[in-house]
C-alpha cells in the first residue's frame, strides 16, 4: 500500500536523530540564498520537508501537533507511528483484516496507557525532589541536542525560568535573545526584559522607577490621510506658516505624551529627529522602531497598554518597572528593563559561536522549556532511556497472551513496535541492539525494574540512578497520537486523486 510506504519513509528519515547519540541533518533550502540549517529537532525537519505522499503528511501533522501540545517527543511520535505501520503491513500481508488490526491496536494502546498511569511517579508534594525531577527531565531532553555538552548548565537555566512562571504555560513571558559571540557557556538567565534597541541621542541612559508609555503611533507628522489632499497658498510666508503649524502639531502631540507623566516612551514606529529632541529636552527616554513582537511583549510584562491616541491620559494604562538601563552584551548595547510588573517575565540570553549554533540552541531550549512547563502542570514523571516502552511492551505482551483470536497478533505487533524505540536508540549509538534489548527484556521481567539503555556506557543501566527522566505527559501524547495516526492510515485502502475540474470531453 502506497500510504504505508510514504509514512515509513518519513519515519526512517527522522529515525537517526533519536536519542542522545542521534545524528543531525542539514536542511538545505532550494529557495533563494540556499539557506542551511543544521538540526536535530524532528519537528523542524518535518516541517520543512517537501512532501507529496498524503500518508506522510499525516505523520508530519502529528509531529506538529505534538510540538504545539507538549513541545518535545516530536521525533518519537513519528518513529512510533512508523513502526506501528511497519508491523501492520506485515499483518496485512498475512491476510489479517485492517479492522482487526485496528481493534487490536486499540486494546493494546489502552493497556499500555494504563501501564504508564500505574508506573508514573509524582513528586508534587516534595519541592526539592520535584526540582530534581525537573532537572533530570531537562537534562534528558537536552542531551540529544547541541546543548548536550553543557546540559547541566542549561537545564538549570530552563528550570529556573520555568519555575518563575508559577504554573502558567505562557511561553510569551520567557524571551529568548540570541547574540552571536562568546560561547554557549556565556548564556545567562536574566530577570526582566531586554530590548535590542538603542536609546535616542542625548537622552538619559538610566531611569529608576520608570513609568512607561508603550505606543504605536506615527511620530513624523499626522498627515491628512485623504488622497490627493493639498493646500494652495499664494505666498512663501504662508508655506512657512503651514510648516510651523505642522511642527506645532507635533509639539502638541509630544506635549500630550509627556502629559501622561511618563519618563520613558517606546514607539513601534520611527521617532523623527524633531520629537526625539523634544523628548531629550524633557529628559524622557524615547525608544523608536521597536519591533511589533517586542512592543507586545513589553506591554505584557510591564503591564501597560499599547496606546495610539493620547487625548485622555486617565484611560491609558502605563507600564511600570524599577530600573531601565543600557547594558552591554558582547559588543552590542541593549536596553534592560528590570523589576517589571509581571514577575514571571525573564529573558534568556543565548551566546554562541555562529548563527547555526544559536538557532539550534534556541530550538533545543524551547523544547526543554515546553516540556518543563507541561511537567509543572502535570507533575507525573517517568524514567527515560526506553524504560517506559519496555514497561508498556511487557504489559501489552501479557494482554496478547490473554486475548483469543486474530486480535492477539495485532497486540503482539504493537508490543514489537514499542520495543523498536529502545532498539533505535541503541542502534543510533552504535550498540548491539539485539543483545541489549533481550537483556533489557529480561531485566523487566523482574518486578519494579528501573532498567533502561545507558547509551554513555553502552549497556543496560539503572535509569533511576542515572537520573534519566521523561515527562509523563509527553510519553502519553506520543503513545496516543502515534496510535491514532497509525489507525487512520491503516483505514485507508486507496489514495484517490481528486480531479481538478470535470471536463465534458474527458468523461
Amino acid at each position: 500500500m502506497a500510504s504505508f510506504i510514504g509514512a515509513m519513509a518519513i519515519a526512517d528519515l527522522v529515525k537517526t536523530t533519536l536519542g542522545p547519540k542521534g545524528m543531525d541533518k542539514i536542511l538545505q533550502s532550494t529557495g533563494r540564498g540556499r539557506n542551511v540549517t543544521v538540526t536535530n529537532d524532528g519537528a523542524t525537519i518535518l516541517k520543512s520537508l517537501h512532501i507529496d505522499n498524503p500518508a506522510a503528511k499525516v505523520l508530519v501533522d502529528i509531529s506538529k501537533v505534538q510540538d504545539d501540545e507538549v513541545g518535545d517527543g516530536t521525533t518519537s511520535v513519528v518513529v512510533l507511528a512508523g513502526e506501528l505501520l511497519r508491523e501492520a503491513e506485515k499483518l496485512v500481508n498475512m491476510k489479517i483484516h485492517p479492522m482487526t488490526i485496528i481493534a487490536g491496536f486499540r486494546m493494546a494502546a489502552e493497556c499500555a496507557h494504563n501501564a504508564l498511569l500505574l508506573k508514573a511517579m509524582d513528586n508534587k508534594e516534595d519541592s526539592d525532589k520535584f526540582r530534581s525531577d525537573l532537572m533530570n527531565i531537562a537534562m534528558t531532553t537536552l542531551s540529544s541536542k547541541i546543548l548536550s555538552q553543557d546540559k547541566e548548565y542549561f537545564a538549570d537555566l530552563a528550570v529556573d525560568a520555568v519555575l518563575r512562571l508559577k504554573g502558567s504555560t505562557n511561553m510569551e513571558s520567557i524571551q529568548i535573545l540570541k547574540k552571536p559571540g562568546g560561547s554557549l557557556k556565556d548564556s545567562f538567565l536574566d530577570e526582566g526584559f531586554i530590548l535590542d534597541k538603542k536609546i535616542g541621542l542625548g537622552q538619559p541612559k538610566r531611569i529608576e522607577n520608570a513609568k512607561i508609555l508603550v505606543a504605536n503611533t506615527a511620530m513624523d507628522t499626522d498627515k491628512v490621510k485623504i488622497y490627493g489632499a493639498r493646500v494652495r497658498v499664494d505666498s512663501m510666508a504662508k508655506v512657512a506658516e503651514i510648516e510651523a503649524a505642522e511642527k506645532q502639531k507635533m509639539r502638541e502631540k509630544v506635549q500630550k505624551i509627556i502629559g501622561h507623566g511618563i519618563n520613558c516612551f517606546i514607539n513601534r514606529q520611527l521617532i523623527y529627529n524633531f520629537p526625539e529632541e523634544l523628548f531629550a529636552d524633557a529628559g524622557i527616554l524615547a525608544i523608536e522602531h521597536a519591533d511589533f513582537e517586542g512592543i507586545e511583549r513589553l506591554g505584557l510584562v510591564t503591564g501597560g497598554d499599547i496606546a495610539s491616541t493620547f487625548d485622555n491620559p486617565e484611560s491609558v494604562k502605563l507600564g511600570h518597572c524599577k530600573v531601565i538601563e543600557e547594558i552591554m552584551i558582547g559588543e552590542d548595547r541593549l536596553i534592560h528593563f528590570s523589576g517589571v510588573q509581571m514577575g514571571q517575565a525573564c529573558t534568556i540570553v543565548l551566546r554562541g559561536a555562529s548563527e547555526h549554533v544559536l538557532d539550534e540552541a534556541e530550538r533545543s531550549l524551547h523544547d526543554a522549556l515546553c516540556v518543563l512547563s507541561q511537567t509543572v502542570n502535570d507533575t507525573r514523571v517517568l524514567h527515560g532511556g526506553g524504560w517506559p516502552e519496555m514497561v508498556m511492551a511487557k504489559e501489552v505482551d501479557e494482554l496478547a497472551r490473554k486475548t483469543p483470536g486474530k486480535k492477539s497478533h495485532a497486540i503482539e505487533a504493537f508490543s514489537r513496535a514499542l520495543q523498536a524505540i529502545p532498539t533505535i536508540i541503541a542502534d543510533n549509538a552504535g550498540l548491539d541492539s539485539a543483545d541489549l534489548i533481550s537483556q533489557l527484556r529480561a531485566e523487566h521481567h523482574k518486578e519494579q525494574s528501573t532498567a533502561g539503555i545507558d547509551v554513555i556506557s553502552g549497556g543496560v543501566g539503572d535509569m533511576k540512578e542515572l537520573g534519566i527522566s521523561e515527562s509523563f505527559k509527553v510519553k502519553q501524547a506520543v503513545l496516543l497520537s502515534a496510535t491514532e495516526a497509525a489507525e487512520m492510515i491503516l483505514r485507508v485502502d486507496e489514495i484517490v486523486t481528486c480531479a481538478p475540474r470535470r471536463r465534458e470531453d474527458m468523461m
Binding site: I26, V38, P180, R230, S235, M236, N273, E277, A353
Partner: protein, 533 residues
C-alpha cells in the same frame, strides 16, 4: 572502574551504518576540506595572496590575504563548505584575526576524523573526544600565556605587527601597528577598561599618496569638501560647531502644497519672502555664535540651497552638508555636542567647540578636518592612504585585523607566542595526555592532536622551507622543554619566537581552537542532507 568502563566502551565503539550515510558524511568532509585547502596557502607571513574577481558584470577585483574575506567572497553551494566559510566569519567576529588559521585547523581535524571514521569509530565518540580535546587545549594555551598590561605599549605594538606581517602591507607594519595601538588605546574608557568598541574607531580611505602617509587624527574628518560655492570660509579657528538635523532652505510642508502665482508682483514678493525666511534662519544661527555647521542629509528636500549657502558664507559660517544620519551619533560623541533638530532649539549649550576646522587637500580631493576638539569623546579616526584602490582596501582590512588583535588583548590580557609554537606545544601535550586515556577516546585524541601540527607544517611549507625537517625539529625542541620555540620564517630556522617579538593574543588562539572543534563536531554529527522548500 576503569577496567569496567573499558570493557563496556568497546561496545560503543563499533559503528555500522548504511552506505549512503557514509557517503553524505564523506562528501561533507571532502567539500569542507577543499575549502580549507583553498585558503591554506595564504597562512603565515610568507603566505600568498589571492586575487578574487567577482563573476558579475562589474568584474571587481580584490587582492587579499585575509581568510575571512576570501571565504566570504567564494560562491559556495555545498552546505558543509558553507559552514566552514561561516566558521571563519565567526572567528572574525570573536577575535578578528586568525581567520585563516581556524579554517586550516578545521580542515586538518576533518581529515583525521575521516581516518577515524573509516577505522570504525562512532561519529559521536569522535565528536565527544573533540570536545574534551578543545577544553584541554585551552587549558594548555592558558598555561603558556604571558600576562600583559595595557600600559605596556611595546607588547601591544609587537602583537599588532605580528598580525600585519602576513599581509600585503607588511612592509609598513612598523608604521601601522603603533597607529592601531594608539587609536585603540585612545578609545578605551577608563570606566570600562575591559571593553573596546571598534565602532568608536573610524577608518577613512583616501586614494593617493602611499601607505606611509596613513595617519591617526585626533579629531574628526569628513570625506567631503566644505560647501563654499558662494565663497564661504574654508578655515575657522576657535570653531563653535552645530550639528543640525533641519534644513536651511525654503519651507516645505509634509502635506502637499502649491503656491499660486497670479501676477508678476506676486512673484517678486515670493522671492523676497523666501530670501527673508532664509535670512531669518541664518541670523538665528549666527546669533548663537555658531560658525561651523554640519547639516544632516535629508531625503525630503534640499538641505541647503545656493541662496542659503550664500547667506551662510556671508555670515562667515563654514558648512558641511550631506552628513549621513547614522554618522550623527559618532559625530556628536566626538564633538561632545547635541544634535539640533529645529531652528527654535538652536542654543549655545548644544554647540561643540574645536580649536580648528579647516578644509585640506588630500591627493586630488578635499576633506574637512576638525582638530583640537574641546572635551573630545573617546573616538578616533584614521586616514588610510594608498597608491591604488586595491592597496587601500587591503590596508584597511589589515588595519581592522590589527585593531581586533588589540581588542582581544583588551578583553583578555594575555599574550602567547606565535610562529606555530602554541600548536606544537598543544599537540605534544595532548598526545601525552591521550596515553593516559582509555579506549576509543585515547585513539581519537591522539589523531586529533596530530592534526594540530598542520599549522607549523603549513607555515614552513608556505615559507619555502622543508616542512618535515622543520616540524620534526620543532617537536624535538619542544620535547626538550623549549615551550616558546617556533618557526622563524625570516631566518628560516627554529628560534625562541618570543625573542623575535612574534606574539599574538591568547584569545585568537583559544577561539580558533574552540571554534574549529565546534564546527568539526557539527559536521561529524550530520548524517543526511535534506532538501527542503
Amino acid at each position: 572502574m576503569a577496567a569496567a568502563s573499558a570493557a563496556q566502551s568497546r561496545k560503543t565503539e563499533t559503528y555500522t551504518d548504511t552506505k549512503r550515510r557514509d557517503d553524505v558524511r564523506g562528501v561533507n568532509i571532502a567539500a569542507a576540506r577543499a575549502v580549507a585547502d583553498a585558503v591554506r596557502t595564504s597562512l603565515g607571513p610568507r603566505g600568498m595572496d589571492k586575487m578574487i574577481s567577482s563573476g558579475d558584470q562589474a568584474q571587481e577585483v580584490i587582492i587579499t590575504n585575509d581568510g575571512a574575506t576570501i571565504l566570504s567572497r567564494m560562491s559556495l553551494l555545498q552546505p558543509a563548505a558553507r559552514m566552514l566559510a561561516e566558521l571563519s566569519r565567526s572567528q572574525d567576529a570573536a577575535a578578528g584575526d586568525g581567520t585563516t588559521t581556524v579554517v586550516v585547523l578545521a580542515g586538518s581535524l576533518l581529515r583525521r576524523a575521516q581516518t577515524l571514521l573509516s577505522a570504525g569509530a562512532h561519529p559521536t565518540a569522535a565528536a565527544d573526544s573533540l570536545h574534551r580535546l578543545a577544553t584541554r587545549a585551552v587549558e594548555i594555551l592558558h598555561s603558556m600565556a604571558i600576562p600583559i598590561e595595557l600600559s605596556d605599549r611595546d607588547s601591544l605594538v609587537k602583537s599588532a605587527s605580528t598580525a600585519l606581517n602576513s599581509k600585503v602591507v607588511s612592509q609598513y607594519s612598523s608604521l601601522l601597528s603603533p597607529l592601531a595601538v594608539d587609536a585603540a588605546l585612545s578609545v578605551v574608557d577608563p570606566a570600562h577598561p575591559e571593553i573596546l568598541d571598534l565602532r568608536d574607531i573610524r577608518v577613512m580611505k583616501k586614494l593617493g599618496g602611499t601607505v606611509d602617509d596613513t595617519e591617526l587624527i585626533h579629531g574628526l574628518i569628513f570625506d567631503k569638501k566644505a560647501s563654499h560655492s558662494a565663497g564661504g570660509p574654508t578655515r575657522i579657528e576657535n570653531a563653535k560647531i552645530a550639528v543640525i538635523q533641519f534644513q536651511v532652505s525654503p519651507p516645505k510642508t509634509d502635506i502637499e502644497q502649491s503656491v499660486i502665482v497670479s501676477d508678476y508682483a506676486q512673484m517678486d514678493r515670493i522671492l523676497r519672502e523666501e530670501r527673508n525666511y532664509i535670512l531669518g534662519m541664518v541670523k538665528k544661527i549666527k546669533a548663537s555664535g555658531c560658525n561651523v555647521l554640519l547639516i544632516q542629509k535629508s531625503i525630503l528636500r534640499d538641505a541647503v540651497t545656493d541662496l542659503s549657502l550664500h547667506y551662510l558664507a556671508k555670515a562667515k559660517i563654514l558648512v558641511v552638508k550631506d552628513v549621513e544620519r547614522d554618522e550623527i551619533e559618532f559625530i556628536t560623541k566626538t564633538l561632545n555636542c547635541l544634535p539640533i533638530a529645529n531652528i527654535e532649539h538652536f542654543r549655545q549649550d548644544k554647540l561643540g567647540h574645536a580649536g580648528l576646522v579647516e578644509e585640506v587637500s588630500v591627493g586630488d580631493t578635499k576633506i574637512v578636518k576638525i582638530t583640537g576638539i574641546k572635551d573630545m569623546g573617546r573616538t578616533a579616526t584614521m586616514l588610510v592612504r594608498g597608491s591604488n584602490q586595491l592597496v587601500i582596501d587591503e590596508a584597511e582590512r589589515s588595519l581592522h585585523d590589527a585593531l581586533c588583535v588589540i581588542r582581544c588583548l583588551v578583553n583578555k590580557r594575555f599574550l602567547i607566542a606565535g610562529g606555530g609554537a602554541p600548536e606544537i606545544e598543544m599537540s605534544m601535550q595532548l598526545a601525552a595526555w591521550a596515553k593516559e586515556l582509555q579506549g576509543m577516546e585515547s585513539y581519537c585524541i591522539k589523531e586529533f592532536a596530530e592534526a594540530l601540527q598542520v599549522i607549523p607544517y603549513t607555515l614552513a611549507e608556505n615559507a619555502g622551507l622543508n616542512p618535515i625537517t622543520i616540524v620534526t625539529e620543532l617537536r624535538n625542541r619542544h620535547a626538550k622543554g623549549e615551550k616558546n620555540a617556533g618557526i622563524n620564517v625570516r631566518k628560516g630556522q627554529i628560534t625562541n619566537i618570543l625573542e623575535e617579538n612574534v606574539v599574538q593574543p591568547l584569545l585568537v588562539s583559544t577561539s580558533a581552537i574552540t571554534l574549529a572543534c565546534e564546527c568539526v563536531r557539527m559536521i561529524l554529527k550530520i548524517d543526511d542532507i535534506v532538501t527542503v522548500r
